[in-house]
């Protein structure tokens, strides 16, 4: 059911969707939002590409091809943030800089280790969701009207 119009709109929307996803992470330090929600939003952008272009074209995109690898990377990043403090004798998930200490700001985004954790979560959720979308799309290959 894909027309030139839907394809055009899908392509146009991809970047704004990713921008919103990033905004949700950045906002998360002062407002509602976190890596999980951002990952789901970004994956919805990819789902739109699958619907408009079919799975073969969508899987040629880099953001889709490297998504599973990103998920593993994200998991490692998140786990490192959790467990590395233990090497310094602190409880698991302790964040640096600590409570009340000075942190570099960029708008509402603070450069603290939880931000890294959130990016890890974002990559895991995004990678998993894109992988699941791909698996479902492939299993419907050749079924029903196009």
């Amino acid at each position: 059911m894909s027309t030139a119009m839907t394809q055009h709109v899908a392509r146009l929307l991809l970047l704004p969707i990713f921008m919103i996803a990033i905004a949700v992470i950045v906002k998360g330090y002062a407002d509602t939002g976190d890596g999980f929600a951002a990952g789901v939003i970004a994956a919805l952008g990819v789902l739109l590409q699958y619907l408009a272009f079919g799975h073969e074209a969508a899987e040629r995109m880099r953001i889709v091809r490297y998504a599973p690898l990103g998920a593993l990377l994200g998991l490692i990043v998140a786990l490192l943030v959790a467990f590395v403090p233990m090497l310094f004798g602190k409880p698991v998930l302790t964040h640096t800089p600590g409570v009340g200490e000075h942190a570099v700001h960029f708008g509402t985004l603070e450069f603290i280790t939880p931000a890294l954790f959130d990016i890890g979560v974002f990559l895991v959720v995004y990678g998993f969701a894109v992988g699941a979308i791909g698996a479902i799309a492939r299993s419907y290959e050749g079924e029903g009207p196009r």
Partner: protein
């Protein structure tokens, strides 16, 4: 250092997930990772046994704000047991030749989930790790890829998802009535909750764990799954994953809801007795090895439930001891189920003796603990049940032994790799060795039960 047993399989699992699990080298890496985690958990266990429980709140927050991680003897005992079973099963499968690329990584991720679950001091965190291990189990039951395995995997996933939903409803109910998610807070608040919501919540959580354990009225999923999967996966499900059910009932019942457990004790006794009788009768009447062992698993869980139902210190000691021994028995038996050779045959006989409770196999002490419990409480029903159940398990185990090992080989069976035979033999040897020198295990279950306040019977 206290979370090393958790961190090692988690990082290891991610790395192994990138490699092809069918290659022998990947299997060996996974075995090394799991062995490291196993050793770390033993070292932790010794430290805790000597110096008492350790607690840590994530992020250095106050208790009740941050997620609590708590290592006590009960949790560590189940960690060591489950990691040991997983290690044996992984080594067994690597020796037989792994068929899919994800299997070693799945075993490591299940080890992560189980370790986290046994070491957490937070009810919601318990659920999270619970799901990590269950998701690994869903994929694992489809291992083999034949229609039989896929069917088993589908049943397993559907039933256990229902169990998980019930459990998360139970956790939500706990939060609703106590306002706390950390176990220490729940323990403090529960006595203040009025009876009916507390009983309802405890029942929901009990049913959720019963589904995992395959207790009598919730057992319907268990036989098709255990017969459908491969022996290594069946050993993992009954030797490692089922520990979630026992540990969960002990932790939530004995530790968090002691008042509700004491009130529901008779229900547990009835369900346990029904499980024993039903499981044994079904096992006697079944023809295939997988089915006999599956129904035997349903029956054996009944003994654990009876011990918890009687409750008190002695009851919890017996339950922990029985759970540990049962999981070793099932591991040995499922390994030996489809193999041939004299080592395997001997291993199966030892496992069968252990299930029936005949010395010198370890199972004798499990039955003895229950027998003592029944005699001390003047609960002659329990004493009778231990004898009758033991006699019936003797019948079905040796029926099975007769079919499997006393028949001349058909000749068309694939030869068994020697390493797999040796691993099976090693588990059986552990059963005899611990049966001859049971003091460490008895002391461990005494110590583990002491973390549960319970209610004096």
């Amino acid at each position: 250092m206290m979370l090393l047993a958790l961190a090692i399989p988690w990082f290891g699992g991610i790395v192994v997930a990138l490699l092809d699990g069918r290659k022998r080298r990947t299997g060996l890496v996974a075995i090394a990772v799991l062995a490291a985690s196993f050793i770390a958990s033993i070292v932790n266990g010794i430290a805790i046994y000597r110096h008492g429980a350790q607690e840590m709140v994530a992020g250095g927050w106050e208790a009740g704000v941050g997620i609590t991680l708590r290592l006590d003897t009960l949790g560590v005992a189940f960690t060591v047991l489950s990691l040991g079973v997983l290690l044996a099963a992984l080594a067994f499968e690597v020796a037989n030749g792994v068929q899919t690329r994800v299997f070693p990584a799945l075993v490591l991720l299940m080890a992560t989930g189980l370790t986290g679950l046994f070491l957490t001091g937070d009810a919601f965190n318990f659920y999270v790790f619970f799901e990590i291990s269950m998701i690994a189990a869903y994929v694992m039951t489809s291992y083999g890829g034949q229609p039989r395995q896929l069917r088993a995997s589908f049943i397993f996933a559907v039933v256990n998802l229902i169990g998980s939903v019930l459990f998360v409803i139970g956790i939500a109910a706990v939060y609703h009535i106590t306002g706390r998610l950390d176990m220490a807070g729940i323990r403090d608040q529960m006595p203040l909750v009025s009876t009916s919501p507390a009983i309802l919540t405890a029942t929901i959580i009990f049913v959720a764990f019963s589904i995992k354990l395959g207790l009598f009225p919730f057992h319907f999923w268990l036989p098709p799954v255990y017969t459908g999967t491969t022996p290594a996966v069946a050993a993992i499900l009954s030797g490692a994953l089922a520990n979630i059910g026992t540990y969960g009932i002990l932790r939530f019942g004995g530790d968090l809801f002691p008042r509700e457990l004491a009130r529901g004790g008779n229900v547990l006794l009835i369900l346990g007795s029904l499980s024993i009788v039903y499981g044994a009768l079904q096992a006697i009447s079944r023809g295939s090895a997988g089915e006999v062992l599956a129904y035997s698993a349903i029956g054996q869980v009944g003994y654990i439930l009876i011990a918890i139902g009687i409750g008190g210190r002695a009851g919890f000691v017996a339950a922990i001891l029985y759970a540990i021994i049962n999981s070793l028995n099932k591991t040995a038996l499922f390994f030996a189920m489809n193999l041939r050779g004299w080592i395997v045959s001997a291993a199966f006989a030892i496992g069968a003796f252990s299930v029936a409770g005949v010395p010198p196999a370890l199972g004798f002490f499990a039955k003895l603990a229950l027998f003592r419990l029944g005699a001390n409480e003047r609960d002659w029903w329990v004493v009778a049940l231990v004898f009758i159940g033991g006699a019936m398990s003797f019948i079905y185990m040796f029926q099975l032994y007769g079919w499997r090992f006393l028949k001349p080989a058909d000749g068309d069976e694939t030869p068994t790799p020697l390493v797999a035979q040796l691993i099976t033999g090693a588990v059986a040897l552990a059963l005899v060795a611990l049966g001859v020198w049971p003091e460490p295990l008895l002391a461990l279950s005494q110590h583990a039960a002491s973390v549960l306040p319970g209610v004096a019977p």
